[in-house]
């Protein structure tokens, strides 16, 4: 049952990504025509200038909202089944990461009515979910160190909010850099992109602090020390420091603008490093056998 909703979410997000990217490419009439000729007969219906772009975006939003709903359903079903949040292995955690990206994006789209951002962020959520579905979903039992349903659920749930908002900030920064360089008129203004990036970080930064603190709390309960320079611990500190640097840089002459946007890109690279890190640096966060 939960697998069906995951597949439904995957399909919805795949289609949403297509519509979002399409609306970006089709925003000006000329570009719409070019896509139509290149993409074959199925796209030629979209010729009336202007209309297809907003139409496509609306479909994108609708589909992304559907994807979010299916993912939410999946998380609820999975949590009911296991008794803790669906965060105990890479499969569950990746699908939840996708949920975080999507939820943060939908909140920003709702607030700022900027759909262009979806062309970057929604495919990222789709990619994360696609990655999740390549990992076997079987419910591996929890090793002793992870047997703390409350902390497992809260620690990881909070990290998903942080990662999701950082993904949105990354999307905004990427568009910022493109907009600042080629002055692409179809993109929102640099000021708005800067604000979206900042707004996302204002949510993500406190949440990331909470992730680290809850991790320290858990480490203190399970291992008897709140900080031990474990690679994942350290990587999450690096991530937090980068966003801390961003918050200061954004107020400085010579650092606001391009360099701040680059810090957001770097910050998300650190998020991905922290996230995928345990696949290669081992440490206490390896999900197989601890102790």
């Amino acid at each position: 049952m939960s697998q069906y909703s995951l597949v439904a979410a995957l399909i919805a997000l795949g289609l949403a990504s297509v519509f979002y990217v399409w609306q970006l490419l089709a925003r000006s009439g000329t570009r719409a025509a070019r896509v139509a000729t290149a993409g074959g007969p199925s796209l030629t219906v979209a010729l009336p200038t202007g209309a297809p772009a907003s139409g496509a975006a609306r479909y994108g939003t609708l589909l992304a909202a559907n994807g979010l709903a299916f993912l939410t359903l999946w998380m609820i079903l999975r949590s009911l089944y296991t008794g803790h949040g669906p965060f105990s292995n890479m499969h569950e955690f990746s699908a939840a990461f996708s949920w975080g990206i999507l939820a943060a994006y939908m909140a920003i789209e709702l607030r700022y009515r900027v759909r262009v951002l979806g062309a970057v962020v929604v495919p990222a959520a789709f990619g994360m979910l696609a990655y999740a579905s390549t990992i076997p979903a079987d419910q591996a039992p929890l090793v002793p160190a992870l047997q703390n349903n409350l902390l497992l659920t809260v620690h990881v749930a909070v990290s998903i909010v942080a990662y999701g908002t950082f993904a949105v900030a990354f999307g905004a920064a990427l568009l910022y850099l493109v907009r600042a360089r080629i002055g692409e008129e179809r993109l929102p203004s640099v000021a708005l992109l800067d604000e979206i990036g900042y707004r996302s970080v204002t949510i993500g930064f406190p949440f990331m602090a909470l992730v680290i603190i809850l991790g320290a709390l858990w480490a203190d309960v399970a291992w008897g020390r709140y900080w031990g320079w474990d690679p994942k611990e350290t990587a999450s500190l690096v991530t937090w420091l980068i966003y801390g640097a961003y918050l200061h840089a954004r107020t400085l002459r010579g650092w606001k603008g391009d360099r701040s946007a680059l810090l957001l890109v770097l910050g998300f690279a650190a998020v991905l490093f922290t996230y995928f890190g345990n696949l290669f640096f081992g440490g206490l966060h390896s999900y197989a056998g601890v102790t």
Partner: protein
């Protein structure tokens, strides 16, 4: 001295320090770190380097020389942290005055000329000046603002702010960082811990703290059918001068706490129950021996020293439970008996359970196989301060980032229609603030609004506004006679 102070106060300095710290912390993530329980420069340190040498090859010595295996213990890492803390501390002290003044004694009046500049948000009202000011006050208060008004030279100045106490959030967040790191430094001094406190099941061992002993009545390790570990638990009894003072079954996520000393389930391994009798048949030793170290071939090994007889016995278990161990079969133990400081054993033999070995005038009996539990025992009275600092950090950061203080200045003047209300803010407006100003103006019983800015969503003209915002900051400062008051960080 002044220049050093200025340097510490600079956000640029803080930024550079954060980025440097980020870079070296990242290096410490990429390169495996020397375990914390190995002292620098010890033989264990050298052995550890040899263990990682196959992974880093020719780079090993270079990385070691650069200190990259010991980043978090390096003096330069600590220096960076201290420098950042000094910067944070200096900024906090410096900001304290600015923030308290803005929160408790804000500047109400702004030079009226500033309200005449093109692009200022304004509304013409068909009300007299007093009534208009009251209407403005009501709208602002209704939207959660604190409002202060002053009449001067026929004009009514209005100052309003929202979430003013969030100004302290930045201060609390920064100070809590200092608190956290100071606590960690203190904890490493006053705290006590033993990472490898080993007790065989059925045995009692003395703790080097408060005259306590730990008795492990039993240990159990459970596995899932897949072979994954499921549960490790030890039944502990804490004894003080032989009297039981505490008792609990501890698990990985469930330690025992006795007066702030906490006992954590950490690791486990094989043990052997050994009995030694002398020629007269007197029992000189009877206890579990934890095989918590590793001998050649990854075989678990433990030892017993009998001082009276000047004899040391080593007990060695088969590697990996005995599968594929040519020397020792499953269920057997190898005993090696040494006399004095001699490096050559008097006797070495593999014995089965219940079998005896005669050596050095003594009888060694491997009674039976057992397990030992490895505990981490720690006492750190500073930990509550860590949670206090952490809470303050989250509260402070959330306040300043998610509930930013909004401030605005308004001027109410008589005009041809009745009165005119104009509103100024400092710095670039974001979408939320733009909407707020528009909502305030449209909330007034207005005649006609003349506002080029509130119509636009703030984004398009923002580049221009940014520069204008900078100018406002200067003017505001000069108008109030205090340059610091309007400088936004």
């Amino acid at each position: 001295m002044t220049r050093l102070w200025q340097l510490l106060l600079s956000v640029r300095t803080a930024l550079v320090l954060i980025l440097l710290l980020t870079a070296v912390t990242f290096a410490g993530t990429m390169v495996i770190q020397l375990p914390a329980n190995i002292p620098l420069g010890s033989t264990d340190h050298v052995q550890w380097l040899e263990k990682v040498r196959p992974r880093f090859g020719m780079w090993t010595d270079l990385l070691a020389m650069a200190g990259l295996f010991t980043v978090f213990r390096a003096w330069w890492y600590q220096l960076l942290v201290v420098a950042l803390l000094l910067s944070v501390g200096a900024c906090s002290i410096h900001r304290w005055h600015v923030i308290t003044r803005e929160v408790f004694h804000p500047h109400v009046r702004v030079a009226p000329a500033l309200f005449d500049r093109p692009g200022t948000d304004a509304a013409d009202l068909a009300l007299d000046q007093r009534t208009a000011a009251d209407a403005l006050r009501r709208v602002l208060a209704g939207r959660g603002h604190r409002v202060i008004a002053e009449e001067r030279e026929g004009r009514i100045h209005v100052y309003a702010d929202r979430h003013r106490y969030a100004r302290f959030g930045s201060l609390i967040g920064h100070v809590s960082l200092v608190l956290l790191l100071a606590t960690a430094a203190l904890g490493s001094r006053v705290g006590w811990s033993d990472d490898g406190f080993v007790v065989p099941e059925g045995s009692t061992r003395e703790l080097a703290l408060d005259g306590l002993s730990v008795q492990v009545t039993s240990f159990a390790a459970e596995y899932y059918p897949t072979g994954q570990p499921k549960d490790f638990r030890s039944d502990l009894v804490i004894l003080s001068n032989g009297q039981e003072v505490s008792r609990k079954t501890i698990r990985v996520n469930d330690p025992l706490d006795h007066n702030g000393i906490r006992f954590y389930q950490s690791f486990f391994g094989p043990a052997a129950y050994l009995r030694v009798t002398d020629a007269a048949g007197r029992v000189v030793f009877e206890d579990g021996v934890a095989l918590a170290w590793r001998a050649e071939g990854e075989r678990p090994v433990g030892s017993v020293r009998l001082p009276e007889q000047d004899v040391t016995a080593y007990v060695i278990a088969p590697s990996a439970g005995g599968k594929g161990d040519a020397l020792i079969s499953p269920g057997e133990m190898r005993l090696e008996i040494y006399r004095g400081r001699s490096e050559t054993p008097v006797r070495m033999e593999t014995v089965a359970q219940g079998e005896d070995l005669w050596a050095a005038g003594l009888t060694f009996t491997f009674v039976r196989e057992k397990q030992f539990t490895g505990l981490r025992v720690a006492r750190d009275p500073t930990v509550p301060l860590i949670w206090l600092g952490s809470s303050l950090l989250v509260i402070g950061v959330t306040a300043v980032l998610c509930f930013p203080t909004r401030r605005l200045w308004a001027l109410v003047r008589p005009s041809a229609t009745g009165s005119r209300v104009a509103i100024l803010t400092v710095g670039r407006r974001d979408v939320g603030q733009t909407e707020e100003i528009a909502a305030i103006l449209s909330g007034l019983p207005r005649l006609e609004r003349t506002s080029p800015r509130s119509a636009d969503r703030g984004a398009r003209a923002a580049g221009r506004e940014d520069r204008r915002g900078g100018a406002e900051v200067e003017h505001l400062g000069r108008a109030s006679g205090s340059p610091a008051s309007a400088v936004e960080r």
